[in-house]
Point group: C2
Chain length 466, copies 2
């Protein structure tokens, strides 16, 4: 494990706040070691830094009470959803109180005429979509994990169909937020667009719980398309696949998903999901539209693919085949882990301009090979975002050091290509050194905003900013 | 004219800064009355508040110099593009220096493979689209006026095709900004998505020049669609038209534009553009896609329209007819003015959830009739945003007072319907009282951010926040 730096603890404040909270919340304040560690960070390679207590509020007012008590005693507050974030977002480097929001899991309203809904932060993506299905609606952001919507907003999540539907920043209409002083604000109304003042919605989306705690979200919804079809196509090289993606997007084909698996990922998927695909770079696609529309999209893509040496093109409107294909994509994490049982998977998350994608993926593969690292790649190529899953023996210090070097090299490469070290996972603890390299003086502006809104640095300290 | 409150002037600082600027910029610092007044606000009904000088920088470094000189002497800086904003955004209530950015009008790069471009703030929308045409690309935001892209970002502009392509917040990838202390920051890289820290891009888009001065924009582009078609359809009532719009959007028809003209607007358009249309509520539509796609969209819309009593449905793929139709829409301002020659047109800008739109438009028409105000309505109905153009005799104080009352009533109505007082024009000076009514305590968070980034309140003071 990699140890994140611990921050100074306010022992006296923590002790006092815990006493007050215990009185107020009774059994809904937990301090047992197991539950505290469960709420520290356990995914990927950052070591657990457990909070001093976990509280389970059931309303915005209760969250505000927790916040006011913690603010009074200058005690850190760490928001927690499903704990599926990947960069140490839920660790408690200065101790403090984790606010588990999963009891706030009500869908408060669905407005089909306005294509929006209002939910509490603990509603998961899948729960929302199950609820919406009968009304012919869906919420499009799909980060893979069945994450909470509050957490997805906090990390500015996206996923496989961002190429068509955007990221959380594009799909949150407004937020209710408990600010670090306990004040409850609403960042916007339910209108689909607004020019009313600073865009606090977008400032808070992606702020990783460092500026406030999201207690309610108004989300944009989409109508479930009349028809959905899938396609896959193998390519001789990653470069050829990327060229086909660029042409597809320039053509304005509104692909809903366009995902790349490199040779090694296809090999892993074949082994895990028995796909029997040629072990060369693969694109998986999904089209949404009318019956005629998806047929046309698929056909146009087929012609483009051919131009770039694509082979084994197969399209389908069968729900079963489609599910099988995308299940294989969703299982890629487990499939990749199968390449090296016992290893831990560490995911990178760079995103570069699409024109640099093939070059970036190629260099990544070459570097991994050179360093002897096993590192299958999957990519949201329509956005220029790809993940390398480094398979590392966490008992082996030199492997960890190599992985660390590799991650740093890749982040710097992406930044040098006018890209970012994180397309969708966020900065958390793990990527803080890269943020300054990527955005330079802009990080001082971020720090000024943080200091203005959270002068005592109690909202999820030690994340995003150093 | 309505007088905006003047703010205290820092006479000594202004005199000193002007001296230093004169030495540095020579003839590119102008202090003549005509040029100063031309850079104060003259549109709609807010009286002109001219700056003390206008400077014409030609580079980011020069803008930063102006900013540092003004910061040193605590002198207001007001950014200026084409001056087409509508709420007093370019007035100088505390005097100071207007920075005219129209000499920074270079298109610095176009990246067709990435569907983006990099421009200086003085490039206008039309200039950019003319430049892009040969490459099969376009920038979709169209607020009507041939505004500068810097100004469009600053006011979070949108317009007729936001329903499909979003607003400026969705189409700016990153910004270069001179901050109030003269520091130059870049808010992001050229990747299509990012989770790297606070979304300063979105914070600055719509900040109306109150947090910094935009000196460069990286913008998302679209491929020019293979086919474009237009349609128009008359409806018995505004309610029927709005019902058709809702159904169209729920169906997932990707309309590129869907605009409402009320009875009075159709009458004005008939008179001005000789359209010969039935004088009942009218929808104008535009579809973008493949040949088959636009035909299908148009046909599906036709069926929906019929369901809601639509008549005189006419679709066309002829470029000439399409231009004529949209020209009439773009000429609506002048057509409306023709209803009362000599009057001044004051535009409202409320935006409500679409399900409340018919009710809001109906109440607006009734109220205008009751007050005897001439007030044709056009609406970006796919977003729930509509403009009432009040035709007012500016020599008549009681008419002005009535118009003021009407605007306040309408803004409050929209807010009570979970909507906003401004869908796309911004707050400026004119809508400040409504911002607090709309967002309550969130405005304190905005004020805290403003104070943190601009402690001396020199960036476009007196706008957005009171």
């Amino acid at each position: 494990m990699v140890q994140a730096t611990a921050l100074p603890r306010n022992e006296e404040g923590i002790a006092t706040a815990l006493g007050v909270l215990k009185q107020r919340f009774g059994d809904r304040l937990q301090t047992g070691q197991a539950i505290r560690e469960q709420h520290g960070h356990t995914t990927t390679w950052i070591a657990n830094q457990a909070p001093d207590a976990v509280v389970f509020p059931e309303s915005t007012e209760e969250v505000a009470q927790v916040m006011r008590i913690c603010a009074d005693h200058k005690v850190p507050v760490i928001p927690y959803g499903t704990g599926t974030s990947l960069e140490g977002h839920v660790n408690a480097p200065a101790g403090g109180v984790t606010v588990d929001l999963m009891r706030m899991d009500r869908i408060l309203a669905v407005h089909p005429g306005d294509l929006d809904c209002v939910v509490q932060p603990g509603v998961t993506r899948e729960a929302l979509n199950t609820h919406l299905r009968d009304q012919g609606l869906f919420f499009p952001i799909d980060p893979g994990a069945n994450a909470s919507l509050g957490g997805m907003a906090a990390t500015r999540a996206s996923g496989t169909n961002a190429v068509r539907y955007g990221t959380m920043k594009d799909n949150v209409l407004s937020l209710e937020v408990v600010m670090p002083d306990g004040q409850v604000i609403r960042t916007g109304k339910r209108a689909r667009k607004s020019s009313a003042g600073y865009d606090l919605t977008r400032l808070l989306v992606g702020s990783e719980g460092t500026l406030g705690l999201i207690t309610e979200l108004t989300l944009r919804l989409q109508g479930i398309p009349e028809a959905i079809s899938s396609a896959r196509c193998s390519f001789p090289t990653v470069d050829a696949a990327c060229q086909a993606v660029m042409m597809t997007i320039q053509y304005g084909i509104p692909v809903a998903r366009i995902e790349l698996l490199d040779e090694l990922s296809v090999k892993a998927a074949n082994a895990y999901s028995h796909l029997g695909l040629p072990e060369t770079p693969l694109l998986l696609l999904e089209f949404h539209g009318s019956e005629a529309g998806v047929a046309e999209q698929s056909e146009t893509f087929g012609s483009i693919a051919e131009e770039f040496g694509g082979s084994d093109f197969a399209a389908t409107t069968s729900t079963e085949e489609r599910s099988r294909l995308w299940q294989a994509r969703h299982d890629m994490y487990w499939a990749s882990m199968g390449l090296r049982p016992g290893a831990r998977g560490l995911s990178t998350d760079v995103c570069v301009p699409i024109s640099r994608l093939a070059e970036c993926v190629g260099a990544t593969q070459a570097r991994a090979a050179e360093m002897g690292l096993l590192a299958p790649i999957v990519g949201h190529v329509g956005d220029g975002n790809f993940h390398t899953l480094l398979l590392i023996d966490m008992e082996n210090a030199s492997e960890i050091a190599e992985a660390d070097e590799f991650v740093g090299w890749l982040n710097d490469l992406a930044i040098s290509m006018d890209g970012t070290c994180t397309g969708e996972h966020g900065i958390g603890q793990g990527k803080r050194p890269y943020l300054a390299r990527e955005l330079g003086p802009a990080t001082k502006v971020m720090a000024a905003i943080k200091a203005a809104l959270d002068p005592d640095n109690i909202m999820n300290p030690g994340k995003i900013l150093s």
